[in-house]
Homo-oligomer: 193 residues x 2
């Protein structure tokens, strides 16, 4: 079941672009509506109330706000993986994430101090498409010995099959607040069960 | 006067690195402490209570959380300038920001739909160093006709003179929650007036 406020907003303000792209930059990943974001955070908290986590993890840049909102509401630290290797970090976990835009793999890194075997991680991101960013995060967590307890996405593009991809990596607890069935012919179809 | 919780945290967890770098990635720009961030947001709200703004603006990625916290508390939309030109935006304001790390200029962009002449902007960022990122944002705002009413920084490195640089661009309302006087000899000296 989609979060109603999010569903309504996607239908009113979302735009379909070529190549299976859903543009939601008026409220989610360029301009951010704090009212909607609070509802998104609260819904993640509700859906993941059954699992125990001590840390929220995401990837810069678009995942940062929803992840922070969840961390803020759950009173937990938030760590975001970086897409460039900072000169200030010399001891990091590293994975590679395939980027469609660039048609190449990019590194993601996370300071070793901020993930360890005692950590139970909730990963939050804005989009689940093919699941490549999620794969990168799962790899970073496994390098550190941390456990990924769940993965939450504001919007899932079901037709890009990221959920199956992540499940094959052993993650069963996946929540998406709006699941897009298709964007065919410029028509946004959101799953309604 | 520095925000006490921030000052204490910088002194306990901050690290001085070569080249005038203050590493605060354990609580501000890699791992984020939501308690401290709430205090940071509340302090910005208090300090900027005298000016009227309708939009918070920042630059990805490290500025996003403090800017969002302020937008959340003030119930205002938050817009973050992007460091890459997204394929989904074809109509944007653009400026160039000099980056010390890369020793080159990088573009920052902002969708024209999200800044306009009616906007009164509060810019929030994690660091004020030389002020080059701030300059880029002032330029984007001026292209759009929006007014920059104030600029707020979590940490200002006074010895890099960004404040004078921004003042010369005509911005008078600048607030920094902790002002670092020097990092000489690995000693973090915070202004105490």
């Amino acid at each position: 079941m989609a979060l109603k406020a999010l569903r309504d907003r996607i239908l009113s303000d979302g735009q379909c672009l070529e190549g299976g792209i859903l543009k939601v930059d008026s409220f989610l990943n360029h301009q951010i509506d704090p009212y909607l974001m609070e509802q998104i955070g609260a819904e993640f908290v509700r859906r993941f109330a059954d699992i125990k986590v001590n840390k929220i993890v995401t990837i810069e840049a678009s995942g940062i706000v929803p992840a922070f909102m969840v961390g803020y509401l759950m009173k937990l630290p938030v760590v975001f993986a970086k897409k460039k290797i900072p000169s200030t970090i010399d001891n990091f976990y590293q994975a590679r994430v395939y980027s469609f835009t660039k048609q190449t793999e990019c590194p993601i890194v996370l300071n070793k101090e901020y993930l360890n075997p005692d950590d139970h991680v909730l990963f939050i991101d804005d989009f689940l498409a093919c699941g490549y960013a999620s794969k990168g995060i799962i790899e970073l967590c496994r390098q550190s010995g941390a456990t990924v307890e769940g993965m939450g996405f504001v919007i899932e593009k079901e037709f890009q099959h990221g959920r199956q991809f992540i499940r094959k990596m052993g993650i069963q607890r996946i929540e998406s607040l709006a699941i897009i069935e298709s964007l065919d012919n410029g028509d946004i179809k959101i799953k309604e069960d």
